[in-house]
Symmetry: C2
Subunit: 571 residues, 2 copies
């Protein structure tokens, strides 16, 4: 199959030298400057030819991996009867986030933010037996959310392209298999798109359901911070993240516990300085109320307690941080000077880092006093151990032991185990082999196709512009034709045209800059537009029988013999 | 590239034996029965996997031909600012036909029925010089019309897939070239889709503009009748259609004019019978009022006058049929007995068929009397000649002289020369080489992508179901596996699986009916679903080392040697 070709003289694009006024983030700026998108209204864009090509390339990657995973492509309406949304209860749940439109007969429709209702009704109409299941249906189609503050270009748009898939199984084991297949497919999709990403266990949003995981593309402008390991696939929300546990180790000989006077010393650092030590050798004992009892959470002085972890340690109980009012009711608690051995605590829960083999500086359970050389097992013994310190960059990965990172992430995909919420509400039931009826067990799986473009540009750009990964690039090769003004212009142009035709005939998608523009303009545009390979065909080089290749990503340059360039470029 | 494969046991489809209650036309019935689409709301459908595949195949044909014609693919928003539609005046023009939606900030949007406004604004923002032009942008995207009575499945849907292209040129000559390129591309698209179609000069609808042509797919259920030639590409609306002109020929010797008494004879046929002749040898003289004067339109007695042709013969004048009131005011006119030689007529305009070399029976300009042996040039001489008889089936084609047909047609495409209506309204101007500003000259070009599916099924079906043309078929080969119940079931299944895998590896898209169902059910479904080639792999055949091939379109059957079947099928 021959490749696509396009001449810059004809391509519908006008690049911009300056950042657009309304763009706050790099990807938005570059996508506008490179002429990929143009704003039509707040959060609504037109996709110009180059942008449309990337969008289609990403969509095709998604399609191939969905098909490979056994999902079947369908196309569901964008205009969906609002009645279905009332049946599922999501009309109210979405509220102002959903666009609604009335027809000439006063029937209301939702502009699809997703399609659980429609697809559940569809499957309910066709399938009724356990023999029919499982099935997984997906579509790649425009979706709508009436965001309060659309921004960041494609990241928080009101009209966006999304792949949404829906699996229907007979039971939870089936759902798990469908979910795992989608999870694996997502990993392939984001890898092929050139993204650095991790999946993170997530709280599900409006969709409602149980287990779910978000795929986060690492990007400084992401909505949410998350913890991840570069060396393995560990990742978690900051609330759920843990680090490698500190092992129990032998404690070297220590001096005896010593009470010291520490008046008028606000904060850990001041105390540490006063005692000639550092914050990490001090210990915090943070007061929590757990079902009315005082619980102390113990972490080193340079660490924050992860409240969610403490809550998780007391399942089914009511857990909250002590407030000023709580302290006021308990004058027996020496606020700010509580030690791990405080007798008034029902429970002490310690992070494993408290096992570090050294004496701790702790509160002495008496105002204006601390205790030094507090030894685990000798001077205090926590009643519970749990990873309750908030993870920080450089902490060791709980999976592989390498240093963790904390970055922000763009959510590019989300996989949910929905269960039977929609199948119950909309009558998607099946009969088992004994004749009994059950609701189907559903999962749903989204990929933000247009959003992926933002994530790619956030990760793959430099000062010159976009650096497209080959798998999604609008064109693979960008030929910069510099015919010059001399007698050789005809020869140089012919060489470029021959290369252009030759590459296309070998299946390569090529952009040829045949404009009457200066070398400076052409080089700047080639960098801005970001095709993986730039080829300069100029008078000097052709005179010597060579053309110049530049790899956009690395800036590496080399010369190719004109006679064998086609082979070299398609090797 | 390997082909797609699908097992019927997994395919999301349930065929129906009975026609759906709400379907009036064959294509709608078959598309529902074959599980291609399912109704979600009035005029709104979900596309199931098989339907979605055909939709994508047709879309891809459209894309390839648009690209080949130099148009560039973009993606324009479905939700478009209503303000743009107010600027162009089309908000009011569309009225209730357009869906409108309000966002949370009370800004109104139109759900795109087309995209002239958005694309004109887009081009206005990027292009400003004659050097930029021409450009032609297209998209394939969902469109919306709030039809009063959605019906006929995809033919009058409210949500439908459309390819819309927009060309921008510096002048009318440029527009003509863009228009011609689109016209040629459309011809290729509909040909590749297997449609019998003709282009017809059209009155443009809501789009507003000048020259336009409709591409009509011949179908009994079409909205409009039109005249066309099977032998060449001649076609026209019934109003605009003409036929081969009758040449002037020598008249054989004739008897003298003879006045006959014809009382109480209502209608041409009675008179003809009374005089022992036939209606085609009588002549009608139909009275028109043209700017207040009496004009007689002369056609043979078996023909109707084409009022539009008479109107066209008097450009700039007011033309209408005589009414009873008109006759009442002119008692001198012998209504029903007017002859071509009536002295009270200012003008007589004759169809060329009046040149037929025989004497005519005409009115004798006196009540209850006709004239026989009326000879052109001897007894009457029309003042004007024009093709004013409505064309009938069997009339000779004005282009090639072969017999014409009259059929109904489905409008599958429409090409318009818009001129500068939108570029003026929305500021799409360019500067010429002398520095003067002009509005760009636009054309717009639509293809009803989802509608094409209906047209294809209307043309390509039989009693058994759909007969997909190979270019758009969901799968090329449908393997009917009949393992039987004996010991050979394993061997037969293995043979089918091998063929399934082998065809796919050679790039063929294959559907394998591996269901536990009766041969009757499988054969009926294979016919209904309509893949071009059916292969039966059954116990009897495999026992003899053969499989059976059936060509869906012709019903032709032959046997293929199992050992060489793969080669035979991919030869």
């Amino acid at each position: 199959m021959s490749g696509s070709g396009m001449r810059m003289s004809q391509l519908f694009v006008r690049t911009l030298r300056d950042d657009p006024a309304d763009a706050e983030v790099t990807s938005h700026k570059l996508m506008v400057r490179a002429g990929l998108i143009r704003r039509v209204a707040s959060g609504i864009y037109s996709w110009l030819p180059l942008g449309n090509r990337v969008l289609r390339n990403v969509g095709q990657i998604v399609r191939e991996e969905m098909d490979e995973a056994g999902a079947q492509e369908v196309s569901l309406p964008i205009a969906q009867p609002l009645d279905l949304w009332k049946q599922s209860g999501r009309d109210e749940m979405y509220g102002d986030m959903m666009f609604r439109v009335q027809d000439r007969k006063d029937t209301w429709y939702a502009l699809a933010p997703t399609a659980e209702e429609v697809v559940t009704t569809l499957v309910a109409g066709e399938y009724s037996s356990y023999k029919d299941l499982p099935v997984n249906l997906y579509q790649i189609n425009w979706k709508y959310r009436d965001e309060l503050r659309p921004r960041f270009g494609l990241l928080r748009a009101r009209e966006f392209l999304m792949k949404d898939a829906y699996s229907f199984d007979a039971d939870l084991a089936g759902l798990q298999a469908s979910y795992d297949a989608m999870y694996a497919a997502y990993t392939k999709v984001f890898t092929r798109c050139g993204l650095t990403f991790r999946s993170v266990k997530a709280q599900s949003g409006e969709i409602g359901g149980d287990t779910s995981q978000e795929f986060m593309a690492v990007a400084a402008i992401g909505e949410d911070a998350f913890v991840w390991c570069e060396a393995c696939d560990y990742a978690a929300n900051t609330e759920a993240a843990t680090r490698q546990q500190h092992a129990e180790v032998a404690m070297p000989e220590q001096p005896a516990r010593e009470r010291v006077h520490t008046p008028d010393m606000p904060g850990i650092d001041v105390v540490a300085q006063h005692l000639g030590t550092t914050a990490d050798l001090l210990m915090k004992a943070i007061a929590f109320d757990v079902d009315g009892e005082l619980v102390l959470a113990l972490v080193p002085g340079d660490r924050e307690v992860n409240e969610y972890a403490v809550i998780g340690a007391f399942p089914g109980q009511s857990v909250r941080l002590y407030t000023d009012a709580d302290f006021a009711k308990r004058p027996d608690i020496p606020k700010g000077y509580i030690g791990p051995d405080f007798a008034g605590a029902a429970t002490t829960i310690a992070d494993s880092s408290i096992r570090e083999p050294h004496g701790w500086v702790t509160g002495a359970n008496e105002v204006d006093h601390h205790a030094q050389h507090m030894i685990l097992g000798r001077d205090f013994t926590p009643t519970m151990w749990a990873e309750i310190a908030l993870v920080e960059p450089g902490d060791l990965c709980p999976s592989c032991g390498r240093p963790l990172r904390i970055d922000r992430g763009i959510e590019v995909g989300h996989v949910f185990q929905l269960g039977d919420k929609y199948s119950r509400a909309l009558g998607a039931v099946y009969t088992d082999d004994a004749g009994a009826e059950h609701p189907m067990v559903m999962g749903c799986y989204g990929i933000g196709v247009s959003r992926i473009l933002s994530a790619i540009v956030e990760e793959h750009h430099d000062d010159g512009g976009i650096v497209w990964p080959a798998a999604v690039a609008p064109y693979q090769v960008h030929i910069v034709l510099l015919p010059g003004r001399g007698d050789t212009a005809v020869t140089v142009t012919a060489a470029a045209e021959e290369l252009y035709a030759g590459l296309r005939s070998r299946g390569v998608d090529v952009l040829l800059d045949d404009r009457d523009a200066s070398p400076g303009v052409k080089f700047a545009d080639a960098d801005l537009l970001g095709m993986p390979v730039q080829i300069t065909v100029g008078a000097k080089g052709v005179g010597r029988g060579v053309i110049e290749r530049k790899i956009r990503a690395t800036g590496e340059r080399d010369e190719l013999d004109l006679a064998t360039a086609l082979d070299a470029l398609t090797a």
